[in-house]
């Protein structure tokens, strides 16, 4: 049985697949072009003619020319961006819920995705009297709701929404309870 057929943890940080795909495509293009041009040079005995403008530009380049400054700056910026992409962990894809029934031998992991968390929060907030619409975002263990209300004086609406959504989220039995923050905006604003 191959090693990869085992399960991995459901709770993960972003895999950086988009950045990796872009870099891989660029490296693939550079490698293929270098191989193609070199094979052409080996078969014909001369560097291809379409390289002449690039060669002329390179031979005219001095170390303090604008082209080299720009290339060096672009390379440094790309390097820092890639390093940040690799080193910044990013947020987890969800929160762990209690597995329950600990009497069994097996390891049980239950994960509520971030999307599920925000949808639960908005669906529950939308049912509260005084809420026209709501939009939720989650960041780590925080869920933030932006609520619009037709009320000119929202009064304790913020607290009511926060309490109701907290209660709903706690009913899923998360390992650590998410903190709920609410902003109320009147539709008259």
């Amino acid at each position: 049985m191959s090693k990869t057929s085992r399960s991995k943890s459901l709770r993960r940080r972003p895999s950086r697949a988009l950045a990796a795909s872009i870099v891989a495509i660029i490296l693939l293009a550079v490698g293929s072009a270098a191989a193609w041009i070199s094979i052409e040079r080996l078969s014909t005995g001369a560097w291809p003619g379409y390289l002449s403008p690039a060669t002329r530009w390179l031979t005219s380049l001095s170390w303090n020319s604008v082209g080299l400054w720009a290339t060096a700056i672009v390379l440094a910026v790309i390097g820092v961006s890639l390093l940040l992409t690799a080193l910044v962990p990013g947020k987890f894809n969800g929160i762990r819920l209690q597995a329950g029934h600990e009497d069994r031998d097996r390891v049980t992991e239950v994960l509520l995705s971030n999307r599920a968390l925000t949808r639960l929060a908005t669906a529950h907030a939308d049912q509260i009297d005084g809420v026209t619409s709501s939009k939720a975002t989650s960041k780590g263990r925080r869920v933030h709701l932006r609520v619009t209300s037709p009320l000119r004086q929202p009064g304790d609406l913020r607290r009511r929404v926060a309490d109701a959504v907290s209660e709903r989220l706690q009913s899923t039995a998360p390992m650590t309870n998410p903190k709920v923050g609410v902003n109320v905006r009147s539709t008259d604003d």
Partner: protein, 205 residues
């Protein structure tokens, strides 16, 4: 539910990033003329190119006229292209489902194997039959003697999530254990919530 390659990507992005940053920094040091000062401060022997000097010197040009260089570049280019292609292919998320489970492997009596998809389809159907579950999928990993089950259930926003978790944990997983005649090593449940009720048309009475 599909498995990615997070740590692999991060390692190679960091390596490519460090190389790009080193090249960029070297270019900036040479362009500004600080390269020599840094080299002297570090006690490095020899002098670097002056900022006004041409990047492609006659020495560099003669290197590219050497007959061995195209072969070296072609080989390096092909290796780079192959590695990049493998990296790109690795981005495709995989289920990594178990191979056909060998339920009975006594050579004298014959072999009994079971395609894991048969079991995962039955699991999905059972979970989808539970009230409030909109969609479900399952992946079975490991072996027949140490199976690991991952279930992805999408529920409606009014469903009691604890009931779904308990049902999968106590009934679905238990049924699979009965079918395989062995306890599960690992059970993973990924829960999503559909916003179908938000999209439903409201009836005003």
């Amino acid at each position: 539910m599909r498995q990615g390659v997070g740590s692999f990507n991060r390692t190679w992005l960091a390596i490519v990033g460090i190389l790009a940053l080193l090249l960029g920094t070297a270019g900036l040091l040479l362009a500004s003329g600080l390269g020599n000062k840094v080299g002297q401060a570090l006690g490095l022997p020899g002098a670097l190119a002056a900022p006004t000097q041409s990047v492609v010197t006659p020495g560099v040009q003669s290197v590219f006229e050497s007959p061995a260089i195209p072969a070296v570049i072609a080989t390096a280019g092909m290796i780079l292209a192959i590695l990049a292609l493998l990296w790109l292919v690795k981005q495709i998320p995989r289920k990594n489902q178990a191979r056909p489970l060998r339920l009975h492997a006594d050579g004298a009596d014959g072999l009994t194997t079971c395609d894991p998809q048969v079991l995962t389809e039955a699991i999905s159907q059972q979970v989808e039959a539970f009230p409030g579950v909109v969609r479900s999928g399952a992946v079975l990993r490991g072996t027949a003697s140490s199976p690991e089950l991952t279930v992805h259930a999408t529920v409606s926003d009014r469903t009691d999530i604890r009931e779904v978790v308990d049902y999968i944990s106590e009934h679905t997983a238990a049924d699979l254990e009965t079918a395989l005649e062995t306890p599960l090593q690992r059970l993973a449940i990924l829960l999503d919530v559909s916003n179908s009720s938000r999209n439903n048309k409201t009836i005003v009475l």
